[in-house]
Symmetry: C2
Subunit: 207 residues, 2 copies
């Protein structure tokens, strides 16, 4: 499943009995949707005489939004890969003590990867939230509602990615890794919960 699939194929794949793609991929997709909407606001602001003062700002935001969109799309496929890595590790043989040891190490390694991917997704979505604020502040008023949709999509992506971090971090035996991951995701969630409603309200006030 990748960005080359149709929307219908992606939705059918989600709804199906197959565990991938799942919520982790949707989290990344929502980040990408938010980033693309930020880009749209920039593209419909740049080059307009009325918004000449915003030209440099919108160009900078556009560059960052497009880079973030590319990151988010990479995480969509990475989420499927790490999920399969976890499933593969749990499926390893556990006959001998040697088997069990190999399996335990493989599971822990896979769980770390399956924590790092949603954490990276949450960071991506946090960047989109910040970019949506810049788009909402300086963007063309005719498309300002799209900055509001961007912030909601990225907020949903961040809170969705957080669920996968919470799930995997509990199974990780490396206490320091688990502590750092928990600490970071909690900070990202608290930050987003403060910013998202504020940015949405800013957009609403400009409609």
């Amino acid at each position: 499943m990748s960005e080359q699939h149709t929307i219908e194929e992606f939705l059918d794949g989600l709804a199906s009995q197959s565990p991938t793609p799942g919520g982790g991929s949707v989290a990344a997709l929502m980040g990408a949707l938010g980033a693309a909407l930020v880009s749209m606001v920039c593209n419909l602001t740049r080059g307009k005489e009325k918004y000449a003062n915003a030209e440099i700002e919108m160009t900078a935001v556009l560059t960052l939004a497009e880079a973030t969109r590319a990151d988010a799309m990479q995480l969509l496929t990475a989420d499927i890969a790490v999920f399969e890595q976890v499933m593969g590790a749990y499926g390893l043989p556990r006959e001998s003590d040697g088997d069990k040891n190999v399996r335990r190490v493989a599971i822990q390694s896979a769980l770390k990867a399956a924590t790092e991917v949603p954490l990276a997704c949450a960071r991506c979505c946090a960047r989109v939230i910040d970019l949506s604020e810049r788009a909402a502040s300086a963007g063309n008023l005719n498309v300002i509602s799209d900055a509001g949709v961007a912030v909601m999509a990225a907020f949903a992506g961040l809170k969705s990615a957080a669920l996968n971090v919470y799930t995997n971090v509990r199974l990780i035996t490396d206490a320091e890794f688990a502590r750092q991951a928990s600490h970071e995701i909690d900070a990202l969630v608290v930050d987003a919960e403060t910013k998202a409603p504020r940015i949405y309200a800013l957009v609403k006030s400009k409609l």
Copy 2:
């Protein structure tokens, strides 16, 4: 732009200088993503001995989620059509008084359609929020986080659709239509703002 386009094409179309697809289509897509994730939870719960008690409930939720997903995808394309209807109406000639009258009527008719589509989208997302609660309550614990992603996606879709209702309703001269649309969207938003955090917390408590 439709469900037959690839994800990449849809995102590129969003990010581009073209005003469609835009936030209204993303709102509908987020409703569809939420509905598809509810279906996934149902599909990975049904037929499992451990969840035999949830079989009837999950079958009912699946049927409703799939119907809601189809509705949301129809609204994705409808959003583009009504946006173009509004643009077309504003583009009508306004030389004579007759022209102006025709144009005024066409604009008002288009604005009503461009209010009804996001209102229908918000209703769709509200249904997904309710279905995600049923999935979170009775679904397979191994995929319960997907019910949490579903509720966040649908919540973002609803709040996004609301922005388009707010925008268009202000331009509508039929005061009774505007009053009813405002009243309904406000009720949907208040309801969603109560339910979504509660359902997300339920999911988090079950991880």
